[in-house]
Structures are given as structure tokens and as C-alpha cells.
């Protein structure tokens, strides 16, 4: 082994900190998580199979019996459904972020990161950015499958793109909920289930799979204000997927779904990012 003094030349650079190095820290961590994604492709693959299954099941199993709006055609439901499944898929990124961070805690990697002079939010931001890339890949595959089973858009490219951006923003905001869960629970397994259970009521008491107009009044109000519903409604509008004869509810978020979706996502993002970074700084142990 060579002598230690030789190593003494590698010192911590005197200047650091500031926005530039914080961004770099985030990217270094994001790259690490993306490398992991490539080396453990099964996570990505299973993450894609699930929504594809939803598309197929809902289209062919429920599709024949569910009517939306005034239309009796099954293709109307098919088109109505896709925005709901897209939105559900992006929110499932929550479980991935949570499990990943819980695993890093468990293995002691978070301790390693916390002992380094890096930007405080970088570990979590890097992770959520990597999850965003994964979500985007999943959406591309999912949109392809949706096209195969007959989903079509009836607007222009700009609107469609905006719809997908809203979906990604929602997914990114939700991954911060996952980050907080990951820092709070003790095992990756708990983070996975803890990241999923509340998503079921959230995604089902919404307009994602059915016309919320037909729900009992109490549930209908929840569904109309559900952040999840606003993004779904926005996407339906932007994709031109609202069925003929569909009556848009009077609730404010349903009337202004694009704006409401952006606002909801930003509120969730800021709130949970603040909570998660605070928890990270404070130390989980």
C-alpha cells in the first residue's frame, strides 16, 4: 500500500455551497439512482406491467358495462378511462420513492450522505428526479399500449403535451409524499405498503374510473375537490377525451381543471418537500 501522505493532496475544495453545487449534488444522486434503475431493471418492468394490466382489464372487463356521459359506445369509456389510469400510474411512483429511501436508511447509506458536506435536500431531490424519469418512461409505454387498445386524442400536440406535463408534475409532487414516508417508516417493505394503501381510496374516490356525477353527494364533493380528480379532468379536457353529453360539475376545480391541477401539485410539492427535507436534516435516528 502506498503511503498516506500521498493522499493528503486530495483535500476538500475550500469553496463549496451555493446554488450551483446544490444542483450538482442533486444530479450526482439522481445519476446514482438511475444507474441502479438500469442495473435492477425488474423494478422498472414490474412498474410498467401493473398499469398496462389496468388498461387491459378496465378496457375489456369493465369497459362493456360502464357508460359515461350520454354515450353508449364502449370506445367512449375507453377514452374516458385512460387519463384516470395515467394519473393513477404517476401517483404510484410514491411507493418507489418511499421504498428506495427507506432502503437507503436501512443500509446506512443515508448516514453516509448525511456525514458529507453536500446540499441537504440533494439526497431526496436526486431520488425524486430519478423517479420522475422512471415515471416518464412508464407513461410513454403506457400511452403506446393505450393507443393499441383504441385510445385516441382529439386535440392538438400542444394540449396533449401539456396534459402529460401535468401528469408528471402530479407524479413528482406525490414522490415527495413517498420520500417523507420512506424517512418515517423502518423498513422498505413498510414503505411500499405505506406508500400504496392510501392511494387506493384517493384514486377510487375520484373521477378516474367512473363519472363522479353519479356518486352519492358526500363522495361526489370529495371526488370533485380531490387533487387527483383535477389532473384527470384536466387531461380529459386536454386530450379531448370527455364523452359526448358529459356534464362538467360546477365545483371550481372541475371548471378550471388545468389551473387547479397545477395549484394542487405545487401545494403538495412544497408542503411535502419541506416536511421531508426537515425530517432528513433533523436526522432520522
Amino acid at each position: 500500500m502506498s503511503t498516506v501522505s500521498q493522499a493528503a493532496e486530495a483535500r476538500v475544495p475550500a469553496v463549496s455551497g451555493g446554488f450551483g453545487s446544490a444542483v450538482r449534488d442533486c444530479l450526482v444522486v439522481a445519476r446514482r439512482n438511475l444507474v441502479r434503475m438500469v442495473r435492477i431493471p425488474e423494478v422498472l418492468i414490474f412498474g410498467m406491467i401493473q398499469p398496462v394490466m389496468f388498461v387491459v382489464l378496465f378496457t375489456y372487463v369493465f369497459g362493456g358495462s360502464i357508460q359515461v356521459g350520454g354515450s353508449l359506445s364502449t370506445s367512449a369509456y375507453r377514452e374516458f378511462l385512460m387519463a384516470g389510469i395515467f394519473a393513477q400510474t404517476v401517483t404510484f411512483a410514491t411507493a418507489g420513492a418511499g421504498a428506495g429511501i427507506a432502503e437507503d436508511m436501512h443500509k446506512g447509506l443515508i448516514d453516509r450522505f448525511r456525514s458529507l458536506p453536500m446540499a441537504r435536500g440533494a439526497v431526496l431531490t436526486g431520488r425524486t428526479l430519478a423517479d420522475l424519469v422512471q415515471t416518464a418512461l412508464t407513461l410513454v409505454v403506457l400511452a403506446g399500449v393505450a393507443l393499441l387498445v383504441g385510445w385516441r386524442v382529439h386535440t392538438n400536440a400542444g394540449k396533449v403535451l401539456l396534459g402529460f406535463l401535468l401528469l408528471l408534475l402530479l407524479g413528482y409532487a406525490f414522490s415527495w409524499i413517498g420520500a417523507l414516508i420512506g424517512l418515517t417508516v423502518r423498513t422498505p417493505e413498510a414503505a411500499t405498503s405505506g406508500g400504496l394503501i392510501w392511494l387506493f381510496p384517493l384514486t377510487f374516490i375520484s373521477n378516474a374510473f367512473v363519472d363522479a356525477n353519479k356518486m352519492p353527494t358526500f363522495l361526489r364533493h370529495i371526488a370533485e375537490w380531490n387533487p387527483f380528480s383535477t389532473t384527470v379532468q384536466a387531461c380529459r379536457e386536454l386530450f379531448g377525451n370527455l364523452p359526448p353529453g358529459y356534464r362538467t360539475p360546477d365545483a371550481w376545480p372541475m371548471q378550471h381543471p388545468v389551473l387547479a391541477s397545477v395549484l394542487w401539485s405545487l401545494v403538495i410539492l412544497v408542503l411535502f418537500r419541506t416536511l421531508a427535507v426537515r425530517k432528513y436534516r433533523k436526522g432520522s435516528a
Binding site: 500500500m1 502506498s2 503511503t3 493522499a7 475544495p13 455551497g17 446514482r32 436501512h106 446506512g108 435516528a285
Partner: protein, 337 residues
């Protein structure tokens, strides 16, 4: 002048457990302090407080002259931490792990790459550098973890149970690395459950139990406290135990001879060293007592621990299955909620 690591009255509680109950430490620059104690004694909590991972409830600590509570990020620039659990990313290669740590220390990508290559070489990991850490043996992982802590050659190092779970060969190898590091001027605080390890590596030792420092000094000073050397004799024939004890009593300081029937072992505290040992042998021989083994035994740190706490360091580990509670990261979390 306070040392490179200095702590006064550190207290940290988790719920009802006082993991640290007023710990004072001082490690002069360029020396090694061994924090010795059983699982759950508070060693890891102390390291976590000093490395800014945990905020002490009260007390004051500086590392490299910097206050750990007031300026944690500056402290982080001056320290390296190598943990109980090898904190490397299994799905990255050894090289990628080191490079990532370098970049997070704000090194330029190129410099981080060069440094990673240098460290892989130095820790005998060059051949395995491009394999994922998942494929590494326990010893290799530990070396990689240590290398990650040394990326910027920090002046102060913390090692939390660096050799726990390693086989003797890997342990010796890691000891060599640590000694080389200290020879280069690094200040080191090391926690261990192995008395032999503290004896081997540390200049000063603090014995910790239940969150308090119950004794401190050099290994020799601590050993001297337990009463110096003893002569140990194993007689060949059990029938000779009584007469052997009689002879030893004459040589012993206080005359107190311990007899262990089943091992046929006689022990007596003595002063006089090797010269006395020769006399004991002559006397036993003259009386026709055949012996299987004889030796001058200096107290081990295990004896020290026993005499200080009333229990052996290793035993407590088995007795209290829970006490990891306070030392392992995942469980500390539970108590802090």
C-alpha cells in the same frame, strides 16, 4: 488546548433511555481513542453526535476545533465516517461508489475519478473496482467503506466498530490500514467491542457503559488497575492441586490462590515477573509436581472490564438481546419519535 475531538457533558436521550449520560472526551491531534464497551453502551450514539448525524440534547463538542451543533457542514468537511454497516451502494461498482462520494465532497468529476482509482489501488480493490459492490466479500465491502471515508483524506476519522463480523485475516488487514492512517497524522476515534482491538490500535481508551465513561487511560494504565500480573499453572495430576496451591501461596503477594478443579488450573497474583516464574518452576519440580502448562499472565482488557463493571464485556452482548436498540440506526429511530 482542546484536542482534535473534544466533548464535554454530552447527553442524548431516546425516550426513557439515556444513551449518553454526560460523556467527556478529548482526543489529541494525531492520536487514537478507543471507545470500548458492550452493545448498547452508547458508543454509536457518541459517534453519531460527533459526526453531526445526531444533535445532542445538551453538552458541547468540537471536531477539528469546529462546533458540531453550530457549524455541522464545516465539521463534515473535516471528517470521514466509516460505519458499523458497510454503507456503500451495492448496485454501484466500487469505482462508482468512490467517485460519487468524491463528487459529493464537491470534487471535480475528473479529480474524483483519479482519486477513486488511487484508493482502489491502495485498498487492494483495483481488480474488483468495476464489479458491483454486491459481489464483494464482507472484508472487501469494509475496505470499500473505509476508502469512501478517506476520499478527501480528512484530518479526523470516526470508525464505528470497523472490524465487527470480519474474520481474523481481514481484521488484521484492516488494522494495518488503520495503523498506516494514524502514522500519517490522522486523528481517530474508534469504537469497538473487542478489547484486543482497542489494545492493539488505541493510544487511549475510554471504557463506556450505560452512557457513561467509567474508566479512561492507556491500555497499560487500565491493566495496572486490575492488579498486575499473575502466575497461572496447570498441573498434570488433579491430586497435586492442593500441594501446588500451597507452593503458589508462598510466592503470591496476598497469598490468594484461585483453584479451578476441572481445568486443573491454579492462579495467583504476583510481582517479580519472569524471575519469579523461574523460581516457581524450580520449586514445583523439586516437589515432584508435574505441570502441563505454566505462564505469566498479564491482565487483558477483558479483566479490566470485568473488574470495572462486574460483568464481562462479551457476556452482556448475549444477555441483553435488545440493547442493540440503542446502537443500531433503525431502532434509534423508533425511540426518537
Amino acid at each position: 488546548m482542546p484536542g482534535a475531538i473534544h466533548a464535554e457533558g454530552l447527553v442524548k436521550t431516546f425516550g426513557d433511555v439515556r444513551a449518553l449520560d454526560g460523556v467527556d472526551l478529548d482526543v489529541p491531534e494525531g492520536t487514537v481513542l478507543g471507545l470500548l464497551g458492550p452493545n448498547g453502551a452508547g458508543k454509536t450514539t457518541a459517534v453519531r453526535c460527533l459526526t453531526t448525524l445526531l444533535r445532542p440534547d445538551s453538552g458541547h463538542a468540537t471536531v477539528a476545533g469546529i462546533d458540531v451543533v453550530k457549524h455541522p457542514n464545516q465539521v463534515r468537511r473535516s471528517i470521514g465516517l466509516s460505519g458499523q454497516f458497510a454503507a456503500v451502494d451495492e448496485y454501484l461498482t466500487g469505482r462508482e461508489n468512490l467517485q460519487m462520494v468524491g463528487e459529493l465532497y464537491q470534487m471535480k468529476a475528473k479529480a474524483a475519478k483519479a482519486r477513486a482509482a488511487e484508493l482502489l489501488e491502495r485498498f487492494h480493490l483495483a481488480d474488483a473496482g468495476d464489479r458491483t459492490a454486491k459481489t464483494y466479500s464482507g472484508g472487501m465491502r469494509r475496505r470499500l467503506d473505509l476508502a469512501a471515508a478517506l476520499v478527501v483524506s480528512p484530518p479526523v476519522m470516526f470508525m464505528d466498530e470497523p472490524t465487527t463480523g470480519l474474520d481474523p485475516r481481514n481484521r488484521q488487514e484492516l488494522w494495518d490500514v488503520i495503523q498506516e492512517l494514524v502514522a500519517g497524522g490522522t486523528t481517530l476515534l474508534l469504537t469497538t467491542q473487542y478489547l484486543e482491538e482497542a489494545d492493539h490500535l488505541a493510544h487511549d481508551i475510554c471504557v463506556v457503559d450505560h452512557g457513561r465513561v467509567i474508566a479512561r487511560g492507556t491500555a497499560d494504565e487500565l491493566k495496572a488497575r486490575t492488579g498486575g500480573e499473575r502466575v497461572e499453572v496447570v498441573v498434570h495430576d488433579r491430586a497435586h492441586l492442593a500441594s501446588g496451591a500451597e507452593i503458589l501461596a508462598a510466592f503470591g503477594k496476598g497469598g490468594q490462590v484461585t483453584t479451578e478443579q476441572h481445568t486443573r488450573r491454579l492462579t495467583v497474583p504476583v510481582t517479580g515477573g519472569a524471575k519469579l516464574l523461574a523460581e516457581v518452576i524450580r520449586e514445583l519440580d523439586a516437589r515432584g509436581i508435574e505441570i502441563d502448562d505454566i505462564g505469566l499472565r498479564r491482565p487483558t482488557l477483558d479483566d479490566v472490564f470485568l473488574s470495572l463493571t462486574g460483568h464481562r464485556a462479551e457476556e452482556e452482548k448475549k444477555d441483553e438481546a435488545g440493547p442493540e436498540a440503542e446502537d443500531s440506526p433503525k431502532d434509534t429511530k423508533e425511540t426518537s419519535k
